[in-house]
């Protein structure tokens, strides 16, 4: 089993590698096209800003490479947002794998000091519709940190609720994604990563 973690100008990439190591999976953190194409599974993680990371992906031709992949691909957090069609963060076109768009969380008027942004901490996921989410984890807590969200759409594979319901996970063909961080979500998160590796 060859697992590639895409290396680019985003933060927190090592956390995913460490989580896989805890499961006994040795991954390669790389930006090398051949290694990424040859991998059985590809993970596209990251924490950062959409327009600058998107510009970096284009400059390094990683955008067309990711779009082209045929093996199972898992986008995490910013990775998921970059797989969508457009992000309001820096108003940038993204990879367009998922049709959904990325928007900024805006609390209802008068709720700014109650529903705080970023949405940070543990929240539940439900309406699970992909092979990486076992139905038994419905309403379990996973860890989120984000100020932008993906609205519900036809690719929504998991839902969470903050201010309103939004996409906690997406799935289309060989592309899977989570807004939350499975690598930081305790046992529930480890289970999701394990399911992805087993695909």
């Amino acid at each position: 089993m060859k697992v590639a973690i895409i290396k680019y100008n985003a933060g927190n990439i090592m956390s995913v590698d460490y989580a896989l190591q805890r499961m006994g999976v040795q991954a390669t953190v790389t930006a090398d096209e051949k290694k990424i194409r040859a991998a059985d599974k590809v993970i596209f993680p990251g924490v950062g800003e959409a327009s600058t990371t998107m510009a970096y992906l284009k400059a390094h031709k990683l955008d067309s490479l990711i779009r082209d992949l045929k093996q199972p691909v898992l986008g995490i957090c910013l990775g998921m947002q970059l797989m969508c069609s457009f992000s309001e963060e820096g108003n940038t076109d993204c990879l367009g794998i998922f049709e959904e768009k990325v928007k900024r969380f805006i609390p209802e008027p008068g709720m700014e000091n109650i529903t705080k942004v970023p949405h940070m901490g543990w929240n539940t996921i439900f309406d699970l519709k992909s092979a990486i989410f076992d139905p038994s984890i419905t309403n379990k807590y996973v860890y989120f940190v984000h100020s932008y969200y993906v609205s519900l759409g036809k690719d929504t594979a998991a839902t969470s609720n903050y201010i309103f319901p939004f996409s906690a996970g997406l799935h289309k063909n060989n592309f899977y994604a989570t807004q939350f961080h499975p690598e930081k979500s305790g046992k529930v998160g480890a289970e999701i990563l394990k399911n992805f590796i087993k695909l």
Partner: protein, 251 residues
């Protein structure tokens, strides 16, 4: 629904976990990696590791320790203590820390908050404040609660938020170590003043104090050290209790 977070805090000196009582006397309680993993297993939502080592050698030990923590821990963690340079912060993030907290350095050089937010994103930036109340006015202190500043708590936290802080960690020096409960009034006022999460610290002595800090104190998270380290209350026990009080927690 977003859960209220329970955050054990581990003070580290020369790679070993300790906890200061009222910022002065210090007792050793164990290996940080082992202790951190056991808290994660018990259901802690997040951990804070504060480096209280003063020496340069000790700081290098801490970066190595952060990498070991990241390798072993499956929940998010914040590191802090004596950080003043962007290069230190970069090293800690590269080692696998999820967030970095700055305290004295932010008060001495507020521009550091802007630089951190710009370079790494607001979600990495925790601004920690030790403040003392005297005659109704809250003053932030620097150097581990030793030196008062000319700032005021509520305007300072607002400024920190505007500069790009992602979270505020507020320790009441009046309450820390007393086990008589959190500074709920000040916390509620902070929370109402800010649009970023507030972590309450200082004063936890029993489970009722946590129920209070999440309701009356309007805090997003509650931090404590000694009551967890000395097993006065356990994380699962506390969460069961909060759930019965209809406070959303992750079980």
């Amino acid at each position: 629904m977003l859960a209220k977070r329970i955050i054990p805090c581990l003070d580290i000196r020369d790679g070993v976990t300790v906890k200061g009582i009222n910022f002065v006397n210090i007792r050793e309680v164990g290996d940080p990696v082992e202790l951190g993993a056991s808290y994660a297993e018990q259901g802690a939502d997040e951990l804070v590791f504060l480096d209280i080592t003063a020496s340069h050698e000790g700081r290098k030990t801490f970066v190595k320790l952060v990498k070991r923590i990241a390798e072993n821990l499956n929940i998010p963690f914040t590191v802090g203590g004596g950080i003043s340079e962007l290069s230190d912060i970069e090293a800690l993030l590269a080692a696998g820390a999820d967030k970095v907290s700055i305290n004295s350095a932010a008060l001495k050089n507020p521009d550091l908050i802007d630089q951190m937010a710009l370079n790494f994103g607001s979600q990495f930036v925790v601004v920690a404040i030790d403040a003392l109340e005297k005659e109704g006015s809250w003053t932030p202190y620097i150097n581990g609660g030793r030196i008062p500043t000319d700032k005021e708590l509520f305007s300072w936290t607002k400024e920190a938020q505007n500069r790009g802080a992602g979270e505020i960690l507020f320790t009441s020096m009046n309450h820390d170590g007393t086990k008589n409960g959190f500074a709920c009034e000040a916390l509620a006022r902070l929370s109402e003043n800010l649009s970023i999460p507030v972590i309450a610290s200082g004063g936890a002595g029993n489970m009722e104090h946590y129920a209070e800090v999440f309701t009356k104190g309007k805090a997003d998270a509650g931090l404590a050290a000694s009551i967890f380290h000395f097993n006065e209350i356990s994380v699962p026990q506390l969460k069961e209790y909060l759930m019965k009080k209809n406070i959303p927690v992750r079980l």
